[in-house]
């Protein structure tokens, strides 16, 4: 599918919604955090933010002619075709934009996982594999709007692929496997339905967005949106400087990521926090630490400190709490309570 390059609303021009923006930036710096789920009110610019993020991402190296956009530098992650080619030749590479693949509503399974190339099957009688959305999303982002309305069989499929990083196709007499490592971004309105816990768990971070009720930010939202719609190219040009600066910060953050020091004390606090909240498994702790490191790197710190942990803890943990329907307070409140108990009150730390 070719996407026409349409002007998208600039990321920097999104009013407020700081937690959402931060979660997306952290995820862009360190994709291993595992994606972002954005749940919230109608009309809060959830999809706008995802599309804006796509425009921010710096290009990546990919093998020329590879249908899965393999990274020439990552030998172990090459697809079968590239592996074969790598034995006899040096793989050529070029810079391509990071794929941000939109999962259209009403998509059928064959388009997602890939299927028999119908055209060639019909006209030439050739059995060939036509890659699907998962192939295109490899090394990039897969965006699912209204993720809570996704049909069950597609959810099952995504849960599986998101965990293994590999898409295995066994259909129509085809037997194909190819890498499918992507950052999952989902958005939706919780009033329209809940998300399966297994899918919830595949998201590294989860943020809640609310309609700005404060008059001034509301006015700013409307003004910028209105300005954008009236003259998109001009509006994009106006914000280019800010977007460029943000892109540079993301690139720098990625480069620095490996050098960020992770003190034992921070690790210990992260573990305590997860224990306090009773989150299952190691995934919570790992995500928490990765997100904190990503934030530290983004903010040009040399090491991760407790303040970083404090800021990423709500998005990293709120969707991993074991559900207790009889506890009145929402998950955000529970995380905040635990933060206060384990890490102390914010004032003490800042002082």
């Amino acid at each position: 599918m070719t996407m026409l390059p349409r002007p998208v609303f600039p990321f920097s021009a999104i009013v407020a919604q700081d937690e959402m923006k931060l979660a997306m930036v952290c995820s862009a710096i360190d994709p291993s955090i595992g994606g972002v789920l954005v749940f919230g009110d109608r009309g809060t610019g959830k999809s706008t933010a995802v599309r804006a993020l796509a425009a921010l991402l710096p290009p990546m190296h990919a093998v020329v002619g590879c249908r899965y956009g393999c990274d020439p530098a990552a030998r172990e992650a090459l697809c079968e075709e590239c592996q074969t080619r790598a034995k006899s030749e040096t793989l050529k590479d070029r810079l391509v934009p990071v794929p941000v693949v939109d999962m259209p509503l009403g998509v059928t399974e064959d388009r997602v996982v890939g299927a028999l190339d119908l055209e060639r099957a019909l006209s030439q009688g050739v059995k060939a594999f036509e890659p699907g959305l998962l192939a295109r999303a490899n090394r990039g982002f897969l965006y699912i709007d209204e993720v809570n309305l996704l049909e069950d069989h597609l959810v099952d499929l995504l849960i599986d692929v998101a965990a293994s990083g590999e898409n295995v196709v066994e259909r129509e007499g085809l037997s194909v496997r190819h890498p499918a490592r992507f950052v999952l971004i989902g958005s939706g309105n919780p009033e329209e339905g809940e998300l399966r816990p297994q899918l919830l768990d595949r998201f590294g971070l989860s943020v809640e967005v609310k309609t700005p009720t404060e008059l001034r930010s509301r006015i700013e939202v409307i003004k910028r949106r209105d300005e954008f719609e009236r003259d998109k190219p001009a509006f994009v040009a106006k914000w280019k400087k800010q977007d460029d600066a943000l892109r540079r910060k993301i690139v720098a953050g990625r480069k620095r990521l490996a050098e960020i020091v992770l003190p034992d004390e921070v690790l210990e606090q992260a573990a305590k926090l997860c224990m306090q909240l009773g989150t299952d498994g190691l995934r919570a702790e790992l995500t928490l630490i990765r997100a904190a490191r990503s934030l530290a790197s983004y903010e040009q710190a040399e090491s991760v400190d407790v303040a970083h942990l404090r800021r990423v803890a709500p998005p990293a943990l709120r969707h991993r709490l074991r559900r207790d329907p009889l506890d009145e307070s929402g998950s955000t409140v529970r995380v905040e309570r635990a933060i206060a108990e384990v890490l102390g009150e914010a004032e003490v730390l800042n002082g």
Binding site: M1, G43, D110, L122, I219, P325
Partner: protein, 606 residues
């Protein structure tokens, strides 16, 4: 300004630029005024502009497009067929019986309205088409049945024609030439910042929807100016937009609207206070002082701001608000006060969707392939069909040069779908007397436990509470835990026991659910001591008699019913009542959330 002239004006405004204004929701039964309105719209749209009509249950393939099977087999290569939305690019799509739209279909329409294009990835075809269009929803819903809220959020106008006289005359005052001139003028119409600010303030004061709605109001103001032959939006345009776009979405009664910042909290916190003090300085100074950190390099607006000195955003906001408040339908306000309206609106999604979901058998989880012709809702599985045909090609006389695949009826394969019948568990909870609070808390806990447990099963839960004079639908059918928590927060207990009203209400909800093809189960939580009659008058004798009568009517409906007797000493009275409604009787003096949910699970599983 009469309702008729407003309805006529909406035709003109919408016809100027349907794509920019999202659309119109026409709520009314089949009605002469509705026919007139649609006729006026047809007459107002420019010649050649596409106008398509679709039923709310339209399958994805027709809506979004997909593979054209006949053409594909003929041409021997995949040929895509455009869906209705792509065909209507640049025009208007009318959706009939919009109250039956499923959230899934609504989500597809939302995506197209947002992006201005339709992206299809179905059955071997991946393609995108431009689709900038306006929608007209014909919503014939009764009471709380309405089109999904997420879709209404994207339409500028919500128009209720239900109250119009049968002889109402809708005469658009704009000629085709006026509309044409307005279309030409529209791109150059400016909207002063003060007007945007005033619209924002009004929207917040009325609690009117998401930012998207305010943006639509701004666009309507712009179209109104263009229609009036001006190049700058003025006070009258903003007032009009407030009245037509914001007022029908008001969720806050005017008495409360004096303090904008506190209002739009989703949860009803405290009862509205009397409008004792005059509106405080609710609108901040015009200049956007507290902007988010990332600010554009130069603020080009600042010099424009000083130009029209006559527009003070604060005063303008008051004017718009006053006009909008005057236009809020009387019935709407009454419902706002009881704060049931938010729940009703929120419910819309689930109300419309369940039935349709059941109805179209072509949904759900694919569970294998079957043979047979693609009739009715059965969907042809093309790949499997071709596979079935492939081995026989030579036998059927296909020679080397002939590129055509020979498919015979025997080859047809269809995808089988499996869909679990949806269940709805209706709790009818006695909130009367002294034990009310405890019982309600336990019922609420049980509801939440059930929902937490069964969202994979897509089961729904509803809660009816009864006390004083009647029964209230506290939680409309939902499977959203978020909504359940919100709706069940805080309900006063005490008062009489209107059991008859409760049985009636539960029966009506169950009947509605059955009509949608769901399987309802009713759970009564009460001590069975009715002391309020159907008409709300107190009295043990009539209360009991009415309750028994209601119970017999319910028995005739053959809904699975469970009667949980919560009184400390199980009574014969309750047992008798349970028997006459043919309910399973269960004495559970100390019902708690966990035991309740366990019982319900056991009862609904059988």
């Amino acid at each position: 300004m009469s309702a008729e002239s407003d309805a006529a004006l909406i035709v003109s405004l919408f016809a100027v630029d349907p794509g920019a204004l999202g659309g119109v929701c026409l709520r009314s039964p089949v009605h002469p005024a509705r026919d007139q309105w649609l006729q006026a719209l047809r007459a107002s749209l420019p010649e050649g502009m596409p106008l398509r009509k679709v039923p709310s249950g339209i399958p994805d393939g027709r809506l979004l497009g997909g593979l054209d099977l006949v053409a594909t087999l003929k041409a021997n290569r995949p040929i895509a067929e455009r869906g209705v939305l792509a065909e209507a690019h640049g025009g208007v799509v009318i959706v009939t019986m919009a109250e039956r739209l499923t959230v899934q279909t609504a989500a597809r329409l939302n995506a197209v309205l947002d992006a201005g294009e339709v992206v299809t990835a179905r059955e071997g075809v991946t393609i995108s088409h431009p689709a900038r269009l306006g929608l007209v929803l014909l919503d014939e819903g009764e009471e709380e049945e309405r089109a999904p809220v997420s879709l209404l959020d994207r339409l500028a106008f919500l128009l209720d024609l239900g109250a119009f006289s049968m002889h109402a005359l809708l005469t658009p005052e704009h000629e085709a030439a006026d509309l044409e001139a307005a279309r030409a003028r529209l791109p150059n119409v400016e909207i002063p910042d003060q007007v945007l600010q005033a619209l924002c303030a009004t929207a917040i004061a009325l609690g009117a929807g998401s930012p998207r709605v305010t943006l639509l109001a701004a666009r309507v103001a712009r179209v109104a100016a263009a229609l009036d032959g001006r190049l700058e939006v003025g006070e009258e345009d903003a007032v009009l937009a407030g009245r037509l776009v914001l007022a029908p979405r008001a969720t806050i009664a005017p008495a409360q609207s004096a303090e904008p910042p506190a209002e739009p909290a989703p949860q009803p916190e405290s009862p509205p206070e009397p409008p004792a003090d005059p509106p405080p300085e609710s609108t901040p100074p015009p200049e956007p002082a507290d902007q988010p950190p990332a600010e554009p390099p130069e603020n080009s607006e600042s010099d424009r701001e000083e130009k029209p000195p006559q527009l003070d955003p604060e005063i303008l906001a008051d004017v718009i608000l006053a006009a909008a408040q005057a236009a809020i339908p009387a019935g709407l306000l009454a419902r706002i006060r009881s704060d049931a309206v938010q729940r009703a609106a929120a419910r819309a999604g689930s109300a419309g969707r369940t039935g349709a979901l059941r109805k179209s058998g072509a949904r759900g989880r694919p569970s294998g392939i079957g043979t047979g012709p693609p009739q009715g809702s059965a969907r042809l599985n093309l790949i499997e069909t071709l596979r079935a045909a492939a081995p026989w090609q030579r036998l059927r006389g296909r020679v080397g040069g002939d590129a055509r695949v020979r498919v015979r009826p025997d080859d047809f394969r269809i995808t089988r779908y499996q869909q679990r019948a949806q269940t709805l568990t209706i709790f009818a909870v006695d909130a009367s007397g002294s034990s009310a609070l405890n019982r309600l808390a336990e019922a609420k806990g049980a509801v939440e436990l059930l929902l937490a447990d069964c969202y994979v099963r897509r089961d729904q839960v509803a809660v009816i509470a009864f006390r004083g004079k009647g029964a209230d639908l506290l939680l409309p059918p939902t499977r959203s835990l978020v909504r359940a928590k919100r709706s069940l927060a805080g309900l006063p207990g005490g008062g009489g026991t209107p059991l008859a009203a409760a049985i009636d209400a539960a029966g009506a909800l169950a009947a509605l659910s059955q009509r949608r093809g769901e399987t309802p189960t009713i759970i009564f939580l009460t001590d069975g001591r009715a002391n309020v009659a159907r008409d709300g008058s107190p009295g043990r004798e009539r209360g009991q008699a009415n309750a028994l009568q209601a119970a017999r009517i319910l028995a005739a409906a053959r809904v699975a019913t469970l009667f949980v007797d919560t009184s400390p000493r199980p009574s014969e009275l309750a047992r008798e009542l349970a028997a006459s409604m043919r309910a399973q009787y269960l004495a559970l003096p100390f019902a708690n959330a966990r035991s309740l949910s366990a019982i319900v699970k056991a009862a609904t599983a059988s």
